[in-house]
Each structure stands twice: as C-alpha cells, then as structure tokens.
C-alpha cells in the first residue's frame, strides 16, 4: 500500500514541527525517516499513523488512493511499533499478540482456535514461539521489541510504522535486530516506514531514505544517492564525517584552503561557498604530484580498522581528517610528524 503525503504542516503551539512536507512512499518499500532530534521525523510518522492530527486544512495523507487524513488511528489498519515497546504488561506474550484480533467487532473476529493458530504462526515468525506464556517483564529488550512487532503484524496492517525501533537496545542486539527486520521485510513486503537518527541504520536497511531537518525534507533517495550526491549542505554534514572549508567560487573553479579545483557538476557558481570533502575522498602522497593538494602534517594515526584514519594539520593550523585504505597507507611509509599532500578527489560545494 503506497503512502502519499501532500503539503503537510503541523504546529504544536508556536512550534512548527512540520512545514509543508510532501513525500511519496511506494508500495512494498522499507523507508527510513532520518534526521536529528527535532527534525520532525517522529511527528511525520505519527501523522501517517493517525496518532497526531494534521493542522486543519493543511495538507492530506493518502494510503494508495484513499484519503485517510481524517480517519482515526484505530480504523486505519496500521501496525505501529514504539521505541519503548508499549507492551501490555499485565498480559502474556500470547495475549499481547492476540489483542488486535480479540478487539475486532464480533462479525469479523476469528474463532478462538483460529486466533490461537494465527498468534503461534506470528510468534514463530519472530522466533519467540516458546515464550507465549511469558510476561513482558520476563523478556529481554530485543525479545520485547519482537513481541511488539508480532502484535502489530497480527492485524494484517496495510502499512507498518516503526518509531526508533532499535533506539532502546544495546549495540549488538541492535545490529542483529536490524538485519533481521530487513529479512522479515523481504519476506512480507509490507510498506514500512521507520524513524531513526542513526545514519548507519538508515543506510544499511532502507530502500529509500528521507533526510529531514527542522520540519522540512532535505532530500529523498536511495542510500547511495543521498550519500554520493547530497543535495544540500545539511545532507552532506549529517550523513557521515566530513571536512568543511570556506571557499570562493568563480564559474566552475572553486578556491579554498589555498588550492583551486574544478567542479565537474556542470553548474556555475559565484561568490562565497561552503566546500565539503569526505575523509575518504582525500588522496594522500608524500610529494607534490601536480594535482592540487593541501599541505599537511600528520598529527595522529589510527591504524586499527578497515581503513587507516589520519588527523592532519594544515599549514594554517586547521585540522582535517583523512581515511586511507590500509594498503595505500602502508605504501606511504608515513608516521607522526611527516608532511603529506592531501588532494581532494571530489568536493561537494553549496
């Protein structure tokens, strides 16, 4: 079930949480709403769910072709998973998952044996079938979140909405659970939207990422698109580490930190600009090799990991970070205090 969000505005008192937001969420995709806290991502999710009302007359939300702007949450058939699980603590795991079926109107409610089968089927899906009789307080965080997911899936939701689903879990469980959610999504193919402030999480499992800031959408695209071709300074900054410079543009030539580079994106610019270079987009060499490079001294080397991470100090005292593949780093024969040239292979200019 696709979701269309059209010109949605939401204010809380004088605070504008969402400002004229539009987005399309295609059927069967797993979409991440990514942004820092206060960017409006949770508000947007709650509006899609119907847990929050739109400002009157400000935009619309549709599921496929059906306008559900005024439909209350309980009639929308959404599955909602909360950051802190929101399980019913006086009910067993079984009763939690069965809840959505037991509150159906009598004529739509399945008979008891069917409910039982359905609940066990769902518990098998989330790999908790042995724990049907337990209470939420007897489960770990990861198990609770899977119960919450099974409970949400029980009502056969048209869309599945997850609010920071991994936020309350520790790092290892978090990594496992997000892989598992990805697999589950491939199995079920329910249109799913999840909120996160963790860019790795969004990049790793989403088909499409909606980057948000201050109540507006900065960019929508696949993880590769938003990472490699960011459309705004905010997106470059938010998605991973980046070195920032002040520069001046003159047509297609950008001057910053004492060097000039051509920007090959076909756009002419003039005046003051911000220049961004990601750490892995620097090419390091011991001698000037003709390409424009920043002269720097190595302050510190972090050699452990898949890439070598270097803190560099420029001649004007500024600090930058560069990431170099381990084999390239070994070929440099560099150590602390050595002088190197850092040539940006690629720059992002705004």
């Amino acid at each position: 079930m696709s979701i269309q969000i059209r010109n949605v505005t939401k204010t809380f008192g004088s605070f504008r949480a969402l400002d004229d937001v539009s987005a399309d969420i295609p059927t069967g995709e797993l979409v991440a709403l990514l942004g820092p806290s206060g960017s409006g991502k949770t508000t947007l999710l709650r509006l899609i769910a119907g847990l929050e009302d739109l400002d009157p007359g400000q935009g619309s939300i549709r599921y496929y072709e059906e306008d559900i702007t005024g439909t209350p949450v309980r009639k929308r058939r959404v599955g909602f998973v909360f950051q802190h699980y929101a399980l019913f603590r006086h009910m067993s795991v079984f009763e939690n998952v069965a809840f959505g079926l037991k509150v159906l109107p009598r004529d739509k409610r399945p008979a008891k044996p069917q409910i039982k089968n359905r609940v066990h089927e769902l518990l098998r899906l989330v790999q908790l079938d042995g724990l049907a009789g337990r209470f939420p307080s007897q489960l770990s965080g990861g198990q609770r979140q899977r119960v919450a997911l099974a409970r949400a899936l029980a009502v056969e939701p048209r869309v599945l909405l997850l609010d920071e689903p991994f936020g309350a879990l520790d790092a290892k469980v978090r990594a496992e659970l997000r892989q598992w959610i990805r697999h589950l999504h491939e199995e079920l193919r329910i249109t799913s939207v999840f909120v996160t402030h963790d860019q790795d999480e969004a990049m790793e499992i989403a088909d499409r990422v909606v980057v948000m800031s201050q109540g507006r959408i900065e960019q929508i695209g696949s993880p590769a698109e938003v990472y490699h071709t960011p459309k705004t300074a905010f997106v470059v900054n938010f998605l991973g580490q980046v070195n920032t410079f002040d520069g001046r543009a003159n047509g297609r030539v950008i001057e910053f930190a004492g060097i000039r580079v051509d920007v090959a994106d076909g756009r002419d610019r003039d005046g003051d600009v911000r220049v961004f270079v990601r750490p892995h987009e620097f090419e390091l060499s011991r001698t000037a090799n003709g390409t424009p490079g920043l002269t720097a001294t190595i302050l510190r080397i972090y050699a452990a990991g898949s890439v070598a991470r270097l803190d560099l100090q420029l001649t004007d005292g500024r600090l930058i970070t560069a990431h170099v593949p381990q084999d390239r780093f070994a070929a440099l024969y560099a150590s602390n205090g050595d002088r190197v040239f850092a040539s940006p292979r690629r720059v992002h200019v705004f």
């Binding site: 847990l51 929308r76 929101a86 019913f88 006086h90 009910m91 949400a152 009502v155």
Partner: protein, 282 residues
C-alpha cells in the same frame, strides 16, 4: 556458619543488605506496641463476658442494624469513591489545565480537616435549609439525617485514599499503551476495560480497601449528619461510644471485636485478590 544460616530462617539473608535482623526486630516490637497489644486488650476485655452475654450484645437488634449500616454504607461509599476517585485521579494525571495544582490540593482536604468540622460543614450544606439540602428536599430526597447522609459523609472522608493510591499507578502507565491499543483497533471502552483497568487493578484494590477501612471506623463527620436515630441511622462506632458512656466497657469491646473481625476478613480478602492480580502482571 552455613548450617546455622540454613536452620535459622531469620538469618536467611546473609551480609548483602545488612540490618535485616535489627529492622525486623524493630518492626515487630513497634507493631506490637502500637497495634497488636491494644487490639489484644480488646479481646481480653471482651472475654469478661460469658458467651451468652457476648452473643446477646452483638445480636441485639439495634447493634445488628448498626453493623448493617456501618459495613453496608462503607461498602457503598468505597464503591462510589472508586468510580469517581478514578476519574479525578485520571484527570489530575493525564491532563494539564489551569488550576490543576489547586484541584490536586483540594483532594487532600478531607485528610486534613478535623472530622467534626467536615461533619458540621456537610450537615449545614445538606440539611433541609442548606444550599444542597433544600433543592434535594424539593425533589423528594432527604439528604441529611438519613442513611444517605451517612453515606455522603463516608464518601467525603474516603475520597483522598482512592485518588492518592491511584495517582502514582496511573502516572506509571505510559500514554503509549493507549496509542498501541488504538493502533490495534481497540475503541476507548475496550482500551479502558482490557488495558488500563487491568494494569492498575492492584492500586484500585488498595484504594478501595483503604477507603472502606477508613469509612468503617469513621465517627466524627458522620454523627452530625446522620441524626443518630436508633435502628435507622446509628453507626457502630457511635453505639460503642454510647456503651462506653454507660460504663459498659465489655459490651463496647464486644461490638468492636465483631467490627474488627469483619474488617479484617474484608481487608484480607482484598489483599489476596490483589496478590493474585499482581502475580498475573509480574
């Protein structure tokens, strides 16, 4: 040492949290002094009566009528408080509105006022010539100097017990579980019945038990508004005082013992019920 620790149940918790022996000792001595010994005295005094004297005292028609009013009235008052106390606690916990702090403080007034003062105030209000008593009389309801007056006074003094017990339990309940229930298709009634009430049931039972216990023993506020008509609006604590004034100490304690046993059974069963409902949620 290990064998001693195993054989002596009072030493079962070694080391970790020190002071178990000391605090348990203080607890038992204190409870004995303040609660158990006075209550024991009650039974000893009652034992001065022969069995037939005792039976005669407590099955006297006037005494039986007072038991019925005291226990029945307390039960009704506690039930009324349960319903409205729940709503008051809910409003105070869930919504913020101007004057909330004042409403919150108002709830404690029945705690703080001398009961005689509340009794006089209620009587003035509900008597035939009072602000509320007049209009009620107009529609044929006699509020003061009737059984209803007794119940009104018992409701008044019991309200804070229910509200103050429920407030922390409701505050502990995240608003998210209501949203979860709604997203799963439950309407408001289903959410209240299947999610909210079961989750706060232990607190509901405690509040009910406290309001009931307080009402059974209430004297000061009731005697003014009830009119104290024998067989009709005479509460048990008043009968006890009457006996005391006639220097019939054993008769007074006999009635007290029956009241005590009734209340104890009632509180015990509520506690068991509560244990059962807590066990289900833990």
């Amino acid at each position: 040492m290990a064998t001693i620790a195993r054989s002596n149940p009072f030493k079962r918790r070694p080391g970790r949290i020190p002071g178990f022996g000391l605090t348990l000792g203080i607890t038992l001595s204190y409870l004995s002094l303040i609660v158990l010994i006075p209550l024991l005295g009650l039974f000893i005094k009652t034992a001065e009566l022969t069995w037939s004297e005792f039976w005669g005292t407590i099955t006297d028609a006037r005494v039986l009528a007072s038991f019925k009013l005291s226990l029945g009235g307390s039960l009704i008052a506690a039930l009324v408080n349960l319903v409205f106390g729940f709503i008051v606690a809910w409003v105070l916990v869930r919504y913020s509105f101007p004057g909330r702090k004042i409403v919150d403080a108002l709830v404690d007034l029945p705690f703080a006022m001398p009961t005689a003062v509340s009794g006089i105030a209620l009587t003035a209000l509900y008597a035939q010539n009072g602000w509320l008593g007049g209009p009620l009389e107009g529609v044929g309801i006699k509020a003061a100097f009737s059984r209803m007056g007794v119940i009104i006074a018992l409701i008044f003094i019991g309200l804070p017990f229910v509200v103050r017990t429920l407030q922390p339990a409701l505050a502990d309940l995240e608003a998210e579980i209501e949203e979860a229930a709604a997203s799963l298709g439950a309407n408001r009634i289903q959410t209240l019945r299947r999610v909210i009430i079961p989750a706060v049931l232990p607190a509901v039972l405690t509040g009910f038990a406290l309001a009931f216990a307080r009402a059974v023993g209430e004297y000061g506020s009731v005697v003014f508004i009830s009119g104290n008509m024998p067989m009709r609006t005479e509460i048990t604590p008043l009968l006890i005082i009457t006996k005391l004034e006639q220097f019939d100490y054993a008769g007074a304690t006999a009635i007290a013992v029956v009241l005590l046993v009734f209340s104890f059974i009632m509180l015990l069963s509520i506690n068991i019920l509560q244990l059962w409902s807590t066990a289900r949620s833990r």
